[in-house]
């Protein structure tokens, strides 16, 4: 009787256990996975988040700009499972699942987190230097599976069609031997066997860099003035002109 009364009395003077929620905001527990925030400045468009997202809640829209590409990322929170895989797989830590759980909306558009990443795509191809130790880390990190490394045979190769030049491998390489090579300088070269010295190329050149002497059968190009526009190549009736490595 007495212990029962003790409990009854102490309960009588206790505060109610109800959380006074809308009046007093309740913080989510640490590491709660709520509304996604995306930092476009950090993103380099490797596409790993899109690949690991099981409900396919992430969409990418590419817009070409003079500097490179603008990529809009949209995270559909009405589709998300809040598993946190995109955050875990993002090497650049551009994606964070915040502790904001107030995700209530009358319009579904309010439940989309989005951000724009500005990407500069390197012009040159991916190359591997001499310091390579064939650790296979680049192949493991590549979101497109474009790199093949054979540890035993000590070979490294890349499928340039698959490579999106995101640069994940370059920053993953422990030996810093991966890089995007500078595009090789090019010049317009003439195949003198095909040329009939019609002077069409000289006429079409916007910079006046080509001089053709019909009588003497000579063809000259001022490589300093040439802007590599390719108009001469397109207009050559005999297909005698082409780009060549300098």
């Amino acid at each position: 009787m007495i212990p029962f009364l003790k409990v009854a009395l102490s309960n009588l003077f206790k505060k109610p256990s109800t959380r006074n929620f809308p009046a007093h905001n309740v913080e989510a527990k640490p590491a709660y996975r709520g509304r996604i925030s995306f930092d476009g400045e950090k993103c380099r468009n490797c596409g790993m988040c899109v690949k690991v997202c099981s409900p396919a809640a992430i969409t990418r829209t590419e817009i070409d700009t003079p500097e490179g590409k603008d990529i809009k990322f949209e995270f559909d929170l009405t589709s998300c499972t809040f598993c946190g895989m995109c955050q875990d797989f993002c090497d650049e830590k551009a994606i964070t699942l915040t502790d904001d759980y107030h995700m209530v909306a009358t319009d579904a558009k309010d439940l989309i987190s989005s951000g724009v990443a500005h990407i500069t795509v390197p012009k040159g191809k991916l190359v591997c230097g001499d310091d390579c130790v064939y650790c296979t880390l680049c192949a493991k990190k590549c979101p497109e599976g474009a790199i093949t490394v054979d540890r035993a045979a000590k070979t490294w190769s890349v499928d340039h069609d698959k490579c999106t030049k995101c640069g994940t491998c370059v920053s993953a390489c422990p030996k810093k031997t991966l890089s995007f090579e500078d595009p090789k300088p090019q010049v317009v070269a003439l195949d003198s066997e095909k040329c009939v010295y019609c002077t069409l190329c000289a006429k079409k050149c916007p910079e006046g860099a080509i001089t053709v002497d019909r009588a003497a059968k000579t063809w000259e190009i001022d490589t300093g003035a040439c802007i590599l526009c390719g108009k001469c190549i397109d207009n050559c009736p005999k297909k005698a002109l082409s780009f060549k490595d300098a």
Binding site: T78, T81, V104, T106, A108
Partner: protein, 148 residues
């Protein structure tokens, strides 16, 4: 005068009907947790109704499986106007990880107008309270519009 009294009391007593359309039970548990003393949605007058005919707010959870589609439509038809439809979690709005499955016929938007969507997988009980509170406000507006 009597009508006004009824309207004023009805606004403070929105009854909920919960329909599970193939949910994993996560959202259902959280909705029930909202009615427990810790979160106590009954402070705002929310009460779980046993029949859709008594309900004002319909809470839908789950990705609408082919089996439950007919039942969902039938249940929604039984709810008297004005009614407010609330989707709980990601599944009813998009299908979540089940989207594209042969047995899932989401979203709920195909069958009815969704007034409030609560995102989360599962939503925190506080978010559910927020969503229900918003739904009650919409219900009040709808009832006022109907009585005019």
């Amino acid at each position: 005068m009597f009508k006004k009294m009824v309207a004023a009391s009805a606004a403070k007593s929105p009854w909920i009907y919960h329909i599970n359309t193939g949910s994993c039970n996560g959202c259902d548990i959280e909705l029930v947790a909202v009615l427990t003393p810790r979160y106590d949605a009954e402070r705002f007058g929310f009460k779980l109704a046993g029949s859709p005919r008594h309900a004002d707010i319909v809470v839908v959870s789950g990705p609408v499986t082919s089996q439950s589609k007919e039942r969902l439509i039938r249940t929604l038809e039984q709810v008297p106007e004005p009614k407010v439809v609330v989707t709980l979690g990601s599944c009813p709005k998009s299908g979540n990880v089940f989207k594209g499955s042969y047995s899932v016929e989401c979203p709920v938007d195909k069958y009815t107008h969704v007034d409030v969507s609560i995102a989360g997988c599962t939503p925190k009980p506080e978010a559910v309270i927020e969503g229900l509170y918003k739904a009650a406000q919409i219900l009040k507006e709808k009832r006022e519009a109907m009585n005019k």
